[in-house]
Symmetry: C2
Subunit: 351 residues, 2 copies
């Protein structure tokens, strides 16, 4: 294994060039020679070092993947999709996570670039205004964005605006009028903004007034009391929450339950991501689903197309279809009106 092409050449009694050819262009070498070389390769358990090839300026067969985090299954699922195709096609993946930090995004890209990856698949905080991406556009490597829904750069995503619009429409259709949007770590991201825009449009179109997104630190795993109060008290309290991702929705759901609010009777909840696990909740979380595995695979294919030079210039941003999973966390507004009965039910659950 630690043997080199030289060893094989010596063992087989030919030059290293012949060995190289035997490996890379078998048809150009005499069958008998070929056989001998192969024998030697087997005997020495030789496998050509990618390093030599890579340095030689050949294709490195290395793809860099930059993700915010793996703690969110969304990205783990994307990565899974990428990995499927990558390993099937003999590429190696180099992974870096950024924790949504611009500094780390820069570092990751530079590291990967230094490693001479042939391409990059990335999810960044903000795709439109990212100077790094301009640099990549300028002198490579080629990249495809994932989950960054932008028209200006090659990307695979869903139409976040439309998806949020559809979801909020559904809430409105169920009779909700006081709908609040909750956003997590993504608050500063392009996705969050687009989702909020979709929410706002749906609200306005129904003659309702959109509110700014309420930012939640969902790593805290506990809902802040002030937030909870905001959600649960007062005559203007929302009857439905649109959460910018499922993890957040799950945390909120739990927080509400602890405050003796019933979901969906006292509060409807709509998530975003369509995580497999969130469907296992009781009731299953209603959520706008993004085809994560497919997004990963699709990003891979686009990247390969770009690398192969068959890049279709016109369609920069590819939006895959989103789905609307109607779980059990959306109630028609009628059932919310009866504060009295909700009250009763609540106390019956109490401790």
């Amino acid at each position: 294994m630690t043997s080199t092409i030289k060893d094989v050449a010596a063992h087989a009694g030919f030059s290293i060039a012949t060995v190289s050819r035997a490996i890379n262009a078998p048809h150009t070498v005499n069958p008998v020679t070929l056989a001998r070389v192969r024998e030697a390769i087997d005997a020495l358990k030789f496998s050509p070092s990618p390093l030599g090839r890579q340095l030689r300026g050949e294709r490195t067969r290395l793809i860099g993947v930059v993700l915010p985090t793996l703690a969110n299954p969304v990205f783990a699922e994307c990565l899974q999709g990428i990995d499927e195709l990558a390993s099937a096609q003999g590429f190696r993946l180099m992974l870096m996570t950024t924790q949504y930090d611009a500094q780390r995004e820069r570092h990751a890209i530079e590291t990967l670039r230094a490693q001479r990856v042939e391409g990059l698949i990335l999810t960044v905080a903000d795709a439109d205004t990212h100077p790094l991406l301009d640099e990549l556009d300028a002198d490579g490597p080629l990249y495809v964005l994932m989950h960054n829904d932008t028209k200006r750069r090659p990307s695979v995503s869903v139409d976040n605006h439309q998806a949020a619009f559809d979801g909020v429409r559904t809430l409105i259709t169920h009779g909700h009028r006081r709908i609040l949007m909750l956003a997590g770590t993504l608050a500063a991201s392009d996705r969050a903004r687009q989702r909020h825009a979709g929410y706002a449009q749906a609200m306005r179109q129904a003659g309702l007034t959109p509110a700014p997104a309420l930012e939640i630190d969902f790593n805290a795993a506990e809902l802040a009391p002030s937030v909870l109060a905001h959600l649960t008290t007062g005559p203007q309290r929302p009857t439905a929450l649109f959460c910018s991702n499922d993890l957040l929705a799950m945390v909120v759901m739990r927080g509400l339950r602890r405050a003796r609010m019933r979901v969906p009777q006292d509060m409807s909840i709509l998530g975003f991501d369509g995580l497999a696990v969130s469907e296992l909740l009781a009731p299953p979380l209603a959520s706008i689903g993004t085809p994560n595995g497919e997004i990963g695979r699709s990003a891979w294919q686009r990247l390969m197309a770009r690398i192969g030079g068959e890049y279709s210039g016109p369609s920069l941003g590819l939006a895959l279809p989103h789905t609307l999973r109607e779980g059990g966390t959306i109630a028609a507004i009628a059932s919310v009106a009866h504060a009295g009965s909700a009250q009763r039910a609540r106390s019956s659950i109490a401790s």
Copy 2:
């Protein structure tokens, strides 16, 4: 960026050797020279190609990670832990997943080895009988196993036997006597066997008869009718289920609910993994927790120790402490006895 050490040398007016020294051993070069070289480096935005270094036989600063899947957050969390330390220490991670397939395990290891990784962190299906690991011991890169609980090789895990024992003890303490163990894809893995052994020991110690683990394909996302029947009907039906992982537990929980079984009143459930998401269920899943991030970090540290030559021979298998998260899915057996009331409750929920 695409500039080489040569360009820098030319630009600075020194030889490439001096540039190399300026980078790797600044103190050995004249301060004035150093300044000039650095200037050139900045001007050309030069960063040394890892490829050259790697080929030169230097350290590649590359670590391979081999995991069964990323669809299970357990591994995503481990990877997250690894990545934290790796990027902090300037290492690059090369990732491959195996889908629990021995063939792919082999392929992954060979690929990574060919890439000249300095070390390997892996989770394999069966650590004890794995011929590949013997090869690695012989002349592979150094490795550390993760979540493979074996005494024979360097590994970081929990004591699966003990953990399962503790968990099942708790079920028994709650009065359960007919406890069944359910296993998923891991059925063939060393972990699953150890967990089953722990289950069996706890059962026997309480004078109960352990049953073979019931194998469930939890990728199906639906419980097979035959399985469901097995769990829910007959006088010998179990009152508690010990699931070999949380994902499985979640699927089972949902399946039971659909069959109008209440958790925990009609069936207690104990999971394994302690996933963050499973705690967001209602009720929160009782689960034996493994410190995944910590396992990842710990595996990293052991690997670094081995690579650095400070390997502590004696303690091959490191078992991190597991936790027992007592969620809401375990009921004392008394409440199960009243089949009548359960029946009533069930029908009141019906459709």
